[in-house]
């Protein structure tokens, strides 16, 4: 049960973002820019970064939601599964492995991102902007994961919930729908 009263029809992050709208707006804007804006990384690759961070923070709601988003964008579910298991042997490019390594280090601590990790990414062809965005996406998902877990929000166990949520964040993105979320009951 959540630590504070939240709308029951909006589990996970959605109820929190509706609970306080003035802080939710810049968080949503930031996410939309980073995950859906113009980038040399595909949307699927960026969702994999969100997925690995959420998986390492053991935040079930975010891990399930972004795994589903990555699966839908990549058109298969093997890559996200293997990235979470061991990204070094997952079927992604060397550049992506180096960026996932930076994301995994950022999840631990900003200070853990070493010169070696950056050099590895640069040698594999990563640009400054790709490195920047990887660190910021990883940092942003630490915010989300800690927000969701710190207030003990509900993570539904029904896979159909994440199918619907994944389709929403892939199809419509991260901005608040006009008028918010209607309570179906």
């Amino acid at each position: 049960m959540p630590h504070i009263p939240l709308p029951e029809h909006l589990p996970g992050i959605t109820g929190l973002l509706e609970y306080r709208l003035d802080t939710a707006m810049p968080i949503r804007d930031l996410t939309q820019i980073l995950l859906r804006g113009e980038s040399s990384l595909t949307q699927g690759e960026r969702e994999l970064i969100a997925t690995i961070v959420s998986s390492r923070n053991c935040t079930n709601f975010c891990e399930a939601a972004h795994t589903k988003a990555a699966d839908l964008l990549l058109g298969e579910s093997e890559t996200a599964r293997l990235v979470k298991l061991d990204f070094e042997s997952a079927p992604v490019s060397d550049k992506m492995k180096a960026l996932l390594n930076i994301a995994a280090l950022t999840q631990k601590s900003g200070k853990a991102v070493s010169e070696e990790a950056i050099e590895r990414a640069q040698k594999a062809g990563a640009t400054d902007l790709e490195i920047h965005d990887t660190v910021l996406i990883a940092a942003l998902f630490c915010l989300y994961n800690k927000y969701v877990d710190g207030l003990a929000t509900v993570a539904p166990s029904d896979p159909a919930f994440y199918q619907t949520l994944g389709e929403r964040i892939v199809g419509r993105g991260y901005l608040r729908p006009p008028g918010g979320f209607v309570n179906p009951s």
Partner: protein, 183 residues
């Protein structure tokens, strides 16, 4: 030296906001709403104290020093309390409520799954509202992002404390205004 080429003459988060102004604008808007906005359940000084505490737990020098400077400015004659909180919040001269909330912030910083019902009940017992519990978790989570962003890209961190004093005054009085983009 920063891990990527950032605009020269700027430090910490400002160098990153100047490097990528679109994400910078959202990040500054979040800091402004969270720490200074009319919807906050805390005074500006209290919100800055939670930001300072979280940054010190993450050992992020730039964010700790800059937010501590803002908090010292805002607490004015009680400013020594800011350093006492960085040293040890449990023995610092702060209210029972703030201690209970910092205990929650500390759990969020370490592993947010460890925020127990008992910690939250204890905070309520000493007067914390739902909104203050929420805002504490969100401030701590937000600074876990800022700290990782600033340190993960190895931004420039001024070493002398005197560099942070004007920064803190600016944050406390003018608020979170993003730097002009540098071309």
């Amino acid at each position: 030296m920063p891990h990527i080429t950032l605009p020269e003459g700027l430090a910490g988060i400002r160098s990153l906001a100047a490097y990528r102004p679109d994400t910078g604008a959202a990040l500054y808007a979040l800091a402004e709403a969270l720490l200074r906005g009319p919807e906050s359940s805390f005074s500006q000084a209290e919100a800055e104290l939670i930001a300072t505490f979280t940054s010190s737990q993450n050992e992020c020098t730039f964010c700790t020093c800059s937010h501590a400077a803002a908090a010292r400015y805002l607490f004015n004659q009680d400013k020594s309390m800011v350093d006492a909180v960085i040293e040890n919040y449990e023995t610092a001269p702060i209210s029972k409520k703030m201690k209970a909330l910092l205990a929650i912030a500390k759990c969020v910083q370490q592993d947010a799954r460890t925020v127990t019902d008992e910690l939250v009940a204890n905070a309520r017992l000493v007067g914390a509202t739902d909104r203050q519990i929420h805002d504490t978790v969100l401030i701590a989570a937000t600074f876990c992002m800022f700290n990782r962003y600033v340190d993960g890209l190895a931004t420039v961190t001024p070493l002398g404390l005197e560099a942070y004093e004007p920064m803190g005054k600016r944050m406390a009085t003018l608020g979170y205004v993003p730097p002009k983009p540098i071309k």
